[in-house]
Subunit: 473 residues, 2 copies
């Protein structure tokens, strides 16, 4: 596409589909859709187009496919890998699904609901709660991110250990294909073996194979009680032993198991308002453990019992059980403020990696040593979903170092960490996806036959390459 002003007939054609108010070219209104949250990626666009329905989305796709105009689907614009940001050519269209924000159906008896792509995650959670059900996907940006983006990136979050990734929470989807055909797959069925599983091809494809416009989501019984503990442990290996004990006592009721390093707690205590350490001593590692139950009583006793067993077995050093919802929120603050407070300690080089759960302690030790050897004084802030083997292995700059000089080593540090990930047969993108950030890396690290098959599928489903080009592949 050219750098020139958008051809008027294109804008007119799009306006005929969605209404002229929803073909946005005003730079001030466009701006927020052209940059991603960390500011790592910034693009340009022909226009922002905002369809209100599946039919409009299909018409926009067909229109653009006919004219070879690339579409960049966008939801809440909270993605962390640049997948929702157009390139710098100015020839792409940002297709916002935000206006498609209807909850089409909530069927408590079938434990299913059908929502459109533009419904926020918090909105979906709320729709479930209103019929006393749980939609368990939960992540920091839930107030802003949308179901379409959650599914397109196969989002993870803090409840994966019990309920799985976004992919696992989907019964069916509605998808607009590149040429405007619509897959009507909004089934509420729990079992359906009539042909190939198409939904999982589009889930996690970051908008490169089709545009998810709606989804039938699984609902779960809303837990009646919850117990939350903040636990001090000597090291990640002991944390895994605690997980084993927790599962012995609570089985699938272990709904969160988050690892937090000492330095992470110190960061939050230093920078987050109202944060305080629930434990008296300075433990080297902490675990935020939450268990949920359908029973109105007994969950506190289960938590107390498992912590007692862990304490007697020498697995944990200390623990505090939240005595109120307020205290529970205070525990969670120590985990949830982590992402933000790293910014207050200077530059931070990020990794979203996973290894087999059992390998996480060895990975942490080896990757930390490698990074500290490569950048003396660098401060490893490794935290996250230990129960899934998913570590946000972040590296804060040495105290007093030059921020820009440190960040200039981003790719070199990535390589040090990813080499250790590879040694443990891990993943270089556990939950954030590929987008632009890890596209080149994917080409170097992915099984080559899988890459070939991915390219063949892309060519089959999007022969003109109009769907989010330059992302993933």
């Amino acid at each position: 596409m050219s750098d020139a002003a958008p051809p008027p007939e294109v804008l007119a054609g799009l306006a005929a589909i969605v209404g002229s108010a929803h073909v946005v070219t005003d730079p001030d209104l466009l701006a927020a859709h052209l940059i991603e949250p960390r500011g790592l990626y910034r693009g340009r666009a022909l226009a922002l187009v905002r369809p209100d329905s599946t039919a409009q989305t299909a018409q926009v796709a067909a229109f653009c496919n006919d004219r070879n105009i690339p579409l960049v689907p966008q939801g809440g614009n909270t993605g962390l890998v640049g997948g929702q940001i157009p390139d710098s050519s100015g020839g792409e269209i940002v297709l916002s699904l935000r206006r498609m924000d209807r909850v089409r159906e909530v069927d408590a008896d079938a434990n299913a609901m059908i929502v459109e792509a533009g419904v926020t995650l918090a909105g979906a959670q709320g729709a479930a709660l209103r019929v006393d059900r749980l939609f368990p996907l939960s992540l920091a940006s839930e107030g802003t991110c949308t179901i379409g983006g959650n599914l397109s990136t196969n989002a993870g979050g803090v409840a994966v250990i019990a309920y799985g990734n976004a992919r696992d929470l989907v019964l069916g989807i509605e998808v607009v294909l590149a040429d405007g055909r619509v897959i009507n797959g909004l089934t509420k069925l729990r079992k359906d073996n009539t042909g190939y599983d198409l939904k999982n091809l589009f889930i996690g494809a970051e908008g490169t194979l089709g545009i998810i416009t709606a989804a039938a989501l699984k609902l779960f019984p809303n837990p009646r009680s919850m117990a939350t503990a903040f636990v001090g442990v000597a090291d990640p290996a002991q944390a895994l032993r605690l997980l084993e004990i927790a599962r012995q006592f609570a089985g699938p009721g272990v709904t969160s198991f988050e690892l937090i390093p000492r330095i992470g707690i110190d960061f939050v205590l230093a920078h987050a308002n109202g944060a305080r350490d629930p434990l008296g001593a300075r433990h080297r590692w902490c675990v935020l453990l939450e268990i949920s139950s359908q029973m109105t009583a007994g969950v506190d006793e289960t938590m107390a019992g498992l912590l007692q067993a862990a304490l007697e077995g020498g697995v944990i050093e200390d623990a505090s059980i939240a005595a109120s919802e307020q205290q529970r929120q205070a525990f969670w603050l120590l985990r949830e403020a982590l992402s933000e407070v790293q910014g207050k300690e200077g530059g931070s080089i990020k990794h979203d990696v996973s290894v087999p759960v059992s390998a996480a302690p060895a990975f942490l030790a080896r990757a930390s040593a490698a990074v500290e050897a490569f950048v003396p004084g660098a401060r490893v802030v490794a935290f996250g979903h230990l129960g899934d083997g998913n570590i946000h292995f972040n590296v804060s700059q040495p105290i007093g170092a030059d921020r820009a000089a440190f960040l200039a080593q981003w790719e070199a540090v990535n390589e040090v960490v990813h080499r250790v990930v590879a040694a443990f047969s891990g993943s270089i993108s556990a939950e954030h996806g590929v987008g632009q950030l890890k596209r080149a890396l994917l080409g170097r690290t992915k099984d080559p036959v899988s890459l070939d098959v991915m390219r063949a599928l892309k060519a089959t489903l999007d022969p003109r390459g109009i769907l989010n080009p330059g992302k993933v592949l």
Copy 2:
């Protein structure tokens, strides 16, 4: 392919790959591989080829792809839709994966194991149990069926309500493509968002897109205790209310919820050795309810509590809790003998359908009425996985009717039932797959865009059409 004797160079070429002992053309040895369990499908074959490794399987595929020789993958040959049976041309090769029966790795700490396609389901369950873990897939043919077949058909079974279908139990797979390339996707990772989800494309594709040679499977904590109840209810709607109560008390601990009609119990009592009704009165419907727990104690109290609540609420009529493993087996006999005993009551026309769980009572009423109106005296034996909305809606011939004349109405009865299924947005193949049996039906009932996409994927991954042709599509 011709009807003539196999070209000697083909057999010699295959023998060079797998060894001449594993290219079987002796009709006596071939016979068992050419007919499926119910005798509905019978085929012919050029040969039975039995590779011992992924490398051999890949070489066989490349060899056959070069020569346009179709391959029909086969595991334990227990499939119910003819997917594993060659056509009648005599030009296809049956590719048995049974010799690939190694448990490559069991990693209890990572809750994962890697097994080859030819491991039986019972073998996989046993490998998990030996490290005190559960591999929860469970179905009647588990002693014979293989993991490759379970995954290729996305098998269901009696624990789907808690653990999901076969698809949900897979972390990664190894797949031989039509041209012999190998996707190495045997990851033990719980989270990996590096590109398209290829595994779910091959799972449930019935060997038409690739040949699954090994899988990394999820393991679960092995439940410490279990309670099993046999419950009498007035109708399926009350059964669903019982499910709701069971989930209120036991949450994800509800591990089986099977519906059995009066006539099914009567069939089993009449034909299965040692069967007896655990309940005093003749209830119109019964439920086999099982809950599992990680705790060594408390599960009996939970079961007693939920049954008490259901009794007091007028939801159930009576219930018996198994007091021993022997009694538990006796309860399960009433469910598991059901498939077999129908054969003793004359012809049986089968349906494996699903509807949204909440719609199951209305579906059962309407479909039963429609069938009884269409074939006066026909005896509906509708049973199965009510908690998943999956009903084995079988129809036994009227007492004293002519078996052949009744069975001649197979397709007409199917149409009556499937019309009701469609009215509830249900599936005409909930867990058995499509194979040959439902291929034509799929063409008439599936979303046309989905069918188009399926055909495009087939053409992309198997351009010469050598993988299980005539199945699914």
